[in-house]
Symmetry: C2
Subunit: 159 residues, 2 copies
């Protein structure tokens, strides 16, 4: 039995428009686009490299160094999370992504002395999501958890 | 007028013996010494690469990539801080050092969601201290501040 596609899977453009998290990613990509390469690209096309199917993942070797473009995508993913948290809490959030040669490492988003997002990364060479839906869900979950922490420990976030 | 040398500057071996922080560094270096290269080296000799004079610094170009040995020394420095904090607080501390090609970056020591040490790094190619005294003082200061934070916000440190 194949799963019924959800409405958003059928209309990615609509999903992007209604997801502040996906919009933040698009905005960061466009802000870094110094030469206007992506000027005429649809948002959906900009987000496409984040969609990595099971079959795609199989084709990406874990023996190789992580592709600089993949690393940059991971960084933008967490910067978008930091941006969305900032929008809600008003406090500046820093992003640190550190990966070793085997694709293991950490992604941290923090404000003051408070870590808003703490993720261990593994097999970072294969970073990606099965669908925009899943990407939206994962990003939004991390944003919400971060906002919750920032509100719970405002003092630590301002140290 | 040349500064009067302090007693500890005259007797580095004594200083190392009486500094839990410097001892932690020595211990980590020896623990990583899988081939026994340093087995017969005095502690003082192991710590020597951490001593970088003003003249030494001038000779280290900031245009070049950071030397992997320097990077590893930075990591060991912060791991020793994490170790000393752990000894006092009992909670496991993680260390993340991230540097870009220009020698700028972050060193973070954290437990749970609490950042115990947060340092921005610059000109990391020239990482080092003028004397063992200064190194002991800097490390010990960061350890004490970290312990203070861990005691002040135990809940965040255990998230």
């Amino acid at each position: 039995m194949s799963p019924t596609p959800t409405a958003t899977e059928l209309t990615p453009a609509l999903l992007i428009d209604s997801s502040p998290f996906l919009q933040a990613i698009v905005q960061i990509i466009r802000a870094n686009d110094a030469y206007g390469t992506y000027r005429n690209w649809a948002d959906e096309l900009l987000l496409k490299p984040y969609i990595v199917t099971k079959a795609d993942k199989k084709d990406i070797s874990l023996e190789d160094e992580i592709d600089p473009l993949t690393k940059s995508r991971i960084l933008v993913f967490y910067r978008a999370i930091a941006y969305c948290i900032e929008q809600e809490t008003g406090s500046l959030a820093q992003v640190v992504v550190v990966l070793n040669h085997e694709g293991f490492g950490w992604a941290l988003v923090f404000a003051g002395r408070l870590i808003l997002v703490s993720k261990t990364l593994r097999d970072a060479q294969r970073f990606g999501f099965r669908s925009l839906d899943k990407m939206h869900a994962e990003g939004t979950k991390l944003v919400e958890k971060g906002i919750e922490l920032a509100k719970q420990y405002p003092e630590v976030g301002e140290l």
